[in-house]
Symmetry: C2
């Protein structure tokens, strides 16, 4: 807004008002130009009206590394903020092979058939490197991708988790402003990305398979304790008995953890995304979690804490990267690490020295 009035003021000083320019140009030309490059205000109102093209365009701005785009993206997000937040954000993790895409397809179709609008996002910091990135291949969600009440967006690219997480988190706001009531955020069950996803969702779902041990499934330590529910997928046919056994075992494991701050006891469920079994039950479970946490005020409290976390996290990341990217620090750090290894200094003395440079 400030920018716009500033710009008109500038035109006035030059003796040509904004309206004069508009009058001097043919209407159709303006419209064409607008279509090609909508203004920030236009994008905001189009997003709020549920326009998918505008939403996609804004996300592209969020994902851009061009500082000019970043400025516009920030303005759009600011404009969308008061229309955001009214959604359920669900994090979904599980190792490759667990059937995440099939599950999201089945879950998404179930929700849209109940009149809900569903957005599917992803956090995968490796996506720019590996070609087999999650959500990269939309063909694995062939029904959902054609569904007009569903919006699917692959992981933003980037090698730093912080950057990818920021982009996804801002994309959530845009999707919410565009009227998507359920946001699913997919990630893979390896590495740090679940922690990032966990801190941007209301409900965290871990998909597992029966039979294979956790070691084989490569689930990172600590993921299980993040889960608000574990869904044992592919619980059908010959697999059903093993899935039932796994359910008992996971239930026991979950009881080893102390009560969560949400006062929610994580549940284990069976499902078969392929046969669309257990999907409705899972949605009911999530709905009861939302009701539970809205009643005890954890829901709002948790979102506030997440905001605080991201504020502090962003600052910390920047402080660190600003410090360690200095050439003199890079050089000195190498030497200090060598001195520590040779038993000639301690980590604390080395840190003090580096901070004094």
């Amino acid at each position: 807004m400030t920018k716009k009035s500033k710009s008109s003021a500038l035109h006035n000083i030059e003796g040509v008002s904004q309206s004069e320019i508009t009058n001097a140009t043919s209407i159709s030309k303006i419209q064409l130009k607008r279509k090609a490059k909508p203004t920030t205000q236009e994008l905001i109102s189009d997003i709020i009206n549920g326009n998918i093209t505008a939403l996609s365009r804004a996300i592209t701005l969020v994902e851009s590394s061009n500082p000019k785009h970043l400025k516009q993206a920030n303005d759009i997000i600011k404009g969308c903020l008061k229309h955001a937040n009214a959604s359920v954000r669900i994090g979904i993790t599980g190792v490759p092979g667990v059937g995440k895409s099939t599950f999201i397809e089945a879950f998404g179709m179930h929700l849209t058939s109940n009149g809900k609008k569903v957005a599917v996002l992803a956090v995968d910091p490796s996506s720019s490197l590996s070609k087999g990135s999650i959500l990269g291949d939309k063909t694995r969600m062939e029904n959902l991708v054609k569904n007009e009440n569903a919006f699917i967006r692959p992981s933003p690219s980037g090698t730093s988790l912080g950057g990818v997480a920021r982009k996804t988190r801002e994309t959530i706001i845009l999707c919410e402003a565009a009227g998507f009531e359920t946001i699913m955020i997919e990630t893979v069950g390896v590495g740090q990305s679940e922690t990032a996803v966990h801190s941007m969702v209301d409900f965290f779902l871990l998909l597992k398979l029966a039979g294979a041990g956790d070691e084989l499934q490569g689930i990172k330590r600590g993921i299980i304790e993040m889960a608000d529910a574990i869904a044992i997928n592919k619980a059908d046919g010959d697999n059903l008995k093993a899935a039932q056994l796994a359910k008992v075992e996971f239930n026991r494991a979950l009881h080893l953890y102390p009560q969560k701050d949400s006062e929610w006891q994580p549940k284990v469920m069976l499902c078969s995304a392929l046969k669309q079994e257990g999907i409705e039950e899972l949605w009911k479970l999530i709905a009861s979690y939302i009701e539970h946490t809205k009643t005890n005020n954890y829901f709002e409290h948790h979102r506030r804490e997440q905001n605080k976390f991201w504020l502090l996290q962003t600052i910390e990341d920047r402080l660190k990267s600003d410090f360690f990217s200095q050439p003199k620090i890079k050089e000195a750090l190498k030497l200090q690490l060598q001195l520590i290894e040779d038993g000639k200094t301690t980590p604390f003395a080395a840190a003090e020295y580096l901070l004094s440079l």
Copy 2:
């Protein structure tokens, strides 16, 4: 050293040499003075000779907040470094009531009776506040405290975990230089202090009780996965059967985690510190862990990684505290948090703004 020659130079300039002063003063007076305030070099060689008084004095310097003491402490640590590192560092955690003191007493007595020198330290950031701090009451280790091959030092005081951890980590070096081959570091099973202790030890032991659920035992999530062994204490009398059941359950839980980097499969054991049962078996287990990790080179690798961790951690802590302690940042942070809460800005935009101040 530099300090000493500087001081003699000063005396020479004033026309009075150090030797003249010495000659002018009675020998006994000088000796008394030396005894009261030993030099850095004297402290270093006394420590290396296993002098407990010198060790205690040096630890007091490490724990001091006086910058002059800090300088001397750093010099002493540097002098001790090449005599350190030849020990087994064992972290011990468990909630109050699990019998940590009794366990450490039994374990320490077992080791000293086998000719080993044992140091017992603690990390408890709350110790300066709460009177019931761990190790504060040495009477709970009445035999070990009288044992000349044991050295017991309560947690350094301090409200910041970083500060307490640094002091303890430097104290480890001093104890090692003084010939202590086994260092036990006790902490309580609540809060962040286990993570700090975990990153300064070779072996991490979790003490548990049978019967009471983990919820009741208040064990923080994530502690179990840090453990290289779980010892179920008070496994005697009527408690034995419950302890055996708990052992089976914990073994199952431990198998839910993927393999550790050390390639060590954590074990569950029973013990009764009171009846001194299972203590020898536990030491054998730790010895086999050390052998295992020295064979696969994890032991050295892990210590190097710990050093690197503490170097980076110390720098990060300082960068953060330097940033957030600025009055203008404190003020602006409050406002930005409010703006986030009111939905008027995003965590990322707020972070950018704060970093631009």
